[in-house]
């Protein structure tokens, strides 16, 4: 017994040394996402998409056996930081993904980078990491936080809307959305309203929109706020009076539960469930078959993370322990078939991709879905790449 106790640190040290020289025999992926609480719908969607994609790949990435470790971040930066540290130190994950919210992501990225663990974001894409704090260890396989708002601004400019009102919650992502929108909207922003996060009653804002005499209104109201606003907007008899434009998440699964109130509303995003490419057709068919619901844009992004890792691991022949080569393979994304069609990384490792207009339509089955209208921006990068020092 005593001898064994004496020997075990030695054995552990030997095991560690051999791990450094030997090729990895598996790849560990940490999925840190929001699975409980009111804000968990996107996280649950992403977890489901990742689980399904892995199952269809026979639980292998690029031929290398893969282990998924899924953890709930509880929508809390503190809890996320602790969970991430466990994933990094104890489980020794190779890749971290799944984070939905920017404030959570910003809390876990520094320790992941310090640990030389690759982060492939499946949703959050904060400006700081796209710009000054860009890192070879960080990839965004979704979109920079401003992108869909920029596309909405561009769309409304193209449509010739002259007078527009904007509503976004008074918190960082709300302000970012307004900044992104303004960057590409060339008309006049007549009214800007920033209600507090989680506001219940929007009667005052609706009255302002009515009196401001605008051509159209752009609103970014995540979570329940969007549903609240839309129900009250309809009750005030406004639905057909003033055109509305959203970004994709404001017309996603949660809002489609009140689809009849947003029928015909155009919204902008990099993906739509009816996109005509092989990868997407397979994704939508498999997801609908497995879960009995049409996938959201969140699910599409998570699915793409798995696809991206699959080609990258294959392209390095499973030698993921050579981090530089692995990073280069992810960056090149050679042979990666994204469900959104064309996809490549800019030098800050954020996507350069098309942004599309989609429209809320009633399907043949009576359910509401987004249908593709057409591209609004082609090969669109982000505004922060100039601040990134990476080559």
């Amino acid at each position: 017994m005593k001898a064994l106790r004496f020997a075990s640190p030695l054995l552990a040290a030997l095991a560690m040394m051999s791990a450094q020289v030997q090729a990895a025999d598996n790849i560990k992926v940490g999925v840190l996402t929001t699975l409980s609480g009111p804000a968990s719908a996107p996280g649950i969607d992403q977890r489901d998409a990742i689980n399904l994609a892995m199952k269809l790949l026979g639980n292998k990435l690029g031929g290398l056996p893969a282990e998924l470790i899924t953890v709930d971040d509880q929508f809390s930066p503190d809890a996320a930081k602790q969970a991430a540290d466990r994933l990094l130190r104890r489980d020794k994950i190779d890749v971290l993904t799944g984070v939905i919210y920017s404030n959570v992501l910003l809390a876990v990225v520094p320790s992941a980078i310090a640990n030389k663990t690759i982060v492939v974001s499946s949703n959050a894409g904060p400006a700081a990491i796209a710009g000054k704090e860009c890192s070879p260890y960080f990839f965004s396989a979704s979109w920079q936080n401003d992108a869909t708002h920029e596309a909405a601004g561009k769309y409304m400019t193209d449509k010739g809307y002259k007078r527009v009102a904007l509503i976004a919650p008074n918190y960082p992502a709300g302000k970012d959305s307004a900044a992104g929108f303004k960057r590409f909207f060339k008309g006049e922003l007549v009214a800007e309203m920033y209600p507090k996060l989680g506001q219940l009653d929007f009667a005052a804002e609706i009255a302002q929109v009515r009196s401001a005499n605008v051509d159209a209104i752009y609103y970014f109201l995540p979570g329940g706020m969007g549903v609240n606003f839309t129900k009250q907007y309809a009750a005030a008899g406004m639905s057909n009076k003033i055109a509305r434009v959203f970004q994709a998440y404001d017309a996603d699964q949660q809002m489609l539960t009140i689809g009849e109130l947003i029928e015909g509303v155009v919204n902008t995003g990099q993906w739509s469930s009816d996109m005509d490419n092989e990868a997407n057709k397979r994704f939508v068919t498999e997801f609908t078959k497995a879960y009995g619901r049409v996938p959201s844009m969140y699910a599409s992004q998570a699915w793409d993370v798995v696809g991206l890792l699959d080609v990258a691991v294959r392209n390095v022949g499973g030698k993921i322990e050579d981090r530089e080569a692995f990073i280069a393979a992810i960056h090149a994304a050679k042979g990666f078939k994204s469900v959104r069609g064309d996809f490549r990384f800019g030098r800050n490792q954020f996507p350069i991709q098309n942004q599309y207009a989609r429209v809320v339509t009633k399907g043949a089955d009576g359910k509401y879905q987004n249908r593709m209208v057409g591209p609004v921006m082609k090969d669109h990068g982000d505004a922060y790449i100039g601040e990134c020092a990476m080559k």
Binding site: P38, I44, Y194, K196, G198, L200, K231, Q254
Partner: protein, 304 residues
């Protein structure tokens, strides 16, 4: 401009009535039982869920509302008898911890039972449009909410000031030991008051359901507003809740609308909109601070 002012005044009043509906139950429970019930917002949510569920099955909003009230009351009374009753003798910190846990449990329970997406709950078709009040088209359902809220206010006032049960409630709120000494069955009274408070919050949830997303966590934002109203009005007082609701509703609406406009005439539009928004969301808390500064136990304290 004058029509906008008229409309915003109406909005302020309507919001006040909504707040009163939400806060009335809380103030009764808080005042009579000296029990801090953070789960009040959860029962608001359960009420909305029941209303949406029953309305979906029955195909009628009013039927859904009617079934939701006793169903939520049953949940509330079960909660009181099984759990909360044991906590009354403990201090406020225990109340807060236990009922905060209940918030988390309820949020995940409704998600397990009804799924993560919001339940549809539509207002009755006859009331779904807007009617013209002079030059202002105003949502008819909002007018119904105002009507229901005002009726509840009057009934509650009559109940508390004109009936025997109301007398017990006032006695309980004013001096508990003395009420017990005079032979009031406090155990029964507490269950009754708690059940009644739950019915009020369920009514608020069901009435507001068509206007908001019926989803897990919908009660959390409501709870904070309800506490502000109760604290401004004076704990345990129905008149206080009415006054507090009126102040918060009007101040909040004005703060959100007039303040950015006012600042807009002085500052650049971008600065005005962000500063106005920040100040607007702070207004009700500033008012609360002011009220508590002059009257530390609220405008109409029940306990003297």
């Amino acid at each position: 401009m004058s029509t906008l002012i008229l409309e915003q005044t109406l909005n302020g009043l309507q919001f006040s009535v909504t707040l009163f509906l939400i806060a009335a139950g809380l103030t009764l429970v808080f005042g009579v039982m000296n029990f801090v019930n953070l789960a009040h917002g959860s029962l608001f949510m359960v009420g909305a869920y029941f209303a949406a569920w029953f309305a979906g099955m029955a195909g009628s909003f009013w039927l859904g509302l009617l079934c939701a009230l006793p169903a939520t009351a049953a949940v509330g009374v079960a909660l009181e008898v099984l759990i909360l009753r044991r906590l009354y003798a403990k201090d406020h910190m225990v109340h807060v911890l236990a009922t905060f846990a209940l918030i988390l449990i309820f949020n995940d329970l409704v998600r397990i039972v009804w799924g993560p997406l919001p339940l549809p709950l539509n207002m009755p078709a006859a009331l779904s449009g807007a009617i013209n009040l002079g030059p202002v088209p105003y949502s008819s359902f909002r007018l119904v909410i105002m009507l229901v809220g005002s009726l509840v206010g009057v009934l509650l006032w009559l109940l508390v000031t004109r009936t025997r049960m109301g007398m017990w409630v006032r006695a309980g709120a004013n001096n508990r030991e003395m009420a017990v000494a005079m032979g009031v069955n406090v155990k029964q009274l507490y269950t009754l008051v708690f059940g009644f408070g739950v019915v009020l919050s369920a009514l608020a949830g069901a009435m507001l359901g068509p206007f908001v997303a019926v989803e897990a966590g919908m009660g959390d934002d409501v709870l904070i507003l309800a506490f502000v109203v109760v604290v401004i009005g004076g704990i345990g007082s129905v008149q206080g809740a009415a006054a507090g609701a009126l102040i918060v509703g009007v101040v909040d609406t004005l703060g959100r609308t007039a303040l950015p406009a006012l600042l807009g005439s002085l500052l650049s539009p971008t600065v005005a909109s962000s500063l106005g928004a920040a100040l607007g969301s702070m207004m009700i808390y500033l008012v609360m601070v002011l009220v508590l500064f002059w009257r530390p136990s609220g405008l109409f304290p029940a306990r003297t």
